[in-house]
């Protein structure tokens, strides 16, 4: 069974540009989450989808971040326009109930 996959694995963009991260959860997992780790800090929650609905987006930093999960399958996280402080590793995870399975992450560098 395929795990959670994320694309791209790395992205380097200039300040002001747009980047879209993609996550394919484990098949059959209704719960999909986005997390982020910035340098030197712990992993922090961004938001939670149940199927295509946003259950909790309390961790989204600001309105430059937009997450979607059309059809309740894969999800995208778009950052527009990117700022320097958005650099970090973005993780996607999915679950049936408790116990989330994580992807390998997308390392985003904004220069």
């Amino acid at each position: 069974e395929a795990g959670v996959t994320q694309f791209p694995s790395h992205s380097v963009i200039e300040k002001g540009q747009t980047v879209t991260l993609r996550c394919d959860p484990i098949s059959g997992h209704d719960n999909l989450y986005w997390y982020r780790r910035v340098m030197g800090k712990e992993i922090k929650f961004l938001l939670h989808f149940v199927k295509e609905s946003k259950q909790d987006e309390s961790g989204m930093p600001n309105n430059r971040f937009l997450a979607e999960r059309t059809g309740g399958t894969y999800s995208t996280l778009k950052v527009q326009p990117a700022e320097l402080e958005d650099s970090g590793v973005y993780f996607c995870a999915s679950s049936v109930t408790w116990g989330a399975f994580f992807g390998q992450g997308t390392r985003l560098t904004v220069v």
Partner: protein, 114 residues
């Protein structure tokens, strides 16, 4: 905002030794997960505990959930060099919003020397 304290932050031991990592909160968890992360990879789920006093074993790893569900520990017996990595605890609280939203500790970086 729930806080989760993990200790120690760094641990360097010799192969064959035992070790314990701790995870504490002032709030009652609804569930707690332990993860292990390698460089360049995502966290890998080791165990989920949900019942106070619960003990789970995974080969040489023993996970314990406190009776009051405010703390947890990970004990490794006879550590091996392959156990080297970052160990993370992550807790969920039933406090509105997502019941499955995880708050992570800062992690314990374990180095097992041959």
């Amino acid at each position: 905002t729930q806080l989760l304290e993990q200790s120690p932050q760094f641990l360097s031991i010799q192969e064959g030794e035992n070790l314990t990592v701790y995870c504490n909160s002032s709030s009652v968890f609804s569930s707690l997960q332990w993860y292990r992360q390698e460089p360049g990879e995502g966290p890998v789920l080791l165990v989920t505990v949900v019942t106070g006093g619960e003990v789970k074993k995974l080969k040489r790893l023993t996970f314990q959930f406190g009776d009051a569900r405010k703390d947890s520990s990970l004990h490794i017996t006879a550590a091996q060099t392959g156990d080297t990595g970052l160990y993370l605890c992550a807790g969920a609280w039933t406090s509105g919003g997502s019941n499955y939203k995880l708050t992570f500790g800062k992690g314990t970086l374990l180095t097992v020397n041959p």
